[in-house]
Symmetry: C2
Subunit: 230 residues, 2 copies
Amino acid sequence: MEEKKYCYRYPHPAVTTDCVIFGFDGVSIKVLLVQRGIDPHKGKWALPGGFLKMDETAEECARRELCEETRLQSTTVEQFHTFTSVDRDPRERVITIAHYALVRLSEVRGGDDAAKAEWFSLDEIPCLAFDHDRILRMATARLKERICFEPIGFELLPEIFTMPELQNLYEAILEVKFDRRNFYNKMLKLGILTEAEERPKNASRRIPCKYRFNAAKYKELKQKGFRLEF
Amino acid sequence: MEEKKYCYRYPHPAVTTDCVIFGFDGVSIKVLLVQRGIDPHKGKWALPGGFLKMDETAEECARRELCEETRLQSTTVEQFHTFTSVDRDPRERVITIAHYALVRLSEVRGGDDAAKAEWFSLDEIPCLAFDHDRILRMATARLKERICFEPIGFELLPEIFTMPELQNLYEAILEVKFDRRNFYNKMLKLGILTEAEERPKNASRRIPCKYRFNAAKYKELKQKGFRLEF
DNA sequence: AATTTTTGCGTAAAATAAACACATAAAATT
DNA sequence: AATTTTATGTGTTTATTTTACGCAAAAATT
């Protein structure tokens, strides 16, 4: 039995971060889950997560876990809720600061963790450990809200993408269907897309144009006070 | 020196909740601050807050503090961000789960706390303890976002209110001016207001109609999938 | 070779938002 | 007391945005 050497005058809860890592394979939204190797809930699938170290912020902690699983250093990581039910963990009082991350599936390499990790579609999520199903539900709800007002969708696509790909992403997240031509017009009119390649003269109409997200232009427009609104 | 009797195998941060309590006096948005009676930052103004107990959730903790300051039991309290900078508190590692609360100023009675508490307008906030200025800024930003899509504004008004009062509230929070007649039309067309009193026949036009928020109607409309959009 | 699908680029209609006009009576001013 | 100003309810007109849908051409399918 290891010594309990960190002592306080008042009880302290343990603090963890969990990370809902979203990806997009061109058809549906995926979430990365890991299979727990230890009790409690040994063998069950869970969100990647771990204990907060005393010299790191919650976001740094979440990024560390993200990197352990995907080898990705720089991606969108955002805190969205802290879960504090008193009986979340049978061992001791544990509160968790939940984050979501958006990654490009093509850039993900296997994690260095021995633990088994797997991508799941949102409609085939297995039974999850702790209150992770609740965390996941809130994460997807937040993703839906955010994508309507911030251009976070581009974090899930390759740098260069086509309009149908972008539409598929929006439809997958929001679970709706858009009219192809209206989506096209609206997106272009926003002015935040740049044509990635010059279109050949003998342009085949069947081959879609390639775009990239114009972050500079978006920043400029945002300062003028415009909102995405989808 | 009191005994440090709560011991763990790994270091644990202390966890607090802070609460940004918003009120509206008919003209501007107010925030309740308390003057710290102890070090660190003794004498400085701060957000009401305190340590999370082991048998309560973060929301319960925030409500407890709200009640201590305002005697209000049932109001909107919502978590919006957890602040985790490593050097927030000079004593030890403290993370705080920040909430905002919306209260009707008319219903607020003095707190039972000995500490001095005072309402401040957003444009005359004094220097605050810890990182509470950052917390307050994020709270007001969140309030702005939320009021555009959820009818939380009514929590700040008396149960019965007039259209000019409602408009003043929206203008105070969003820091914009609306055309009186368009605001009026838009609000009525939403269908979430009920006339509170029958208007006398010899209705003076100068005396505004009185309304109340129709929560049932709002719930019904929301289920059909409509958004406020302001 | 014919048919279907997919894309770029439109346009007409419908719905929504923005701008503003006017009557009335209370309140303020003279 | 008469006059002016202000605040409110109720519109209408115009501009803008959203929605619905048409069409041609090349690629893919049959």
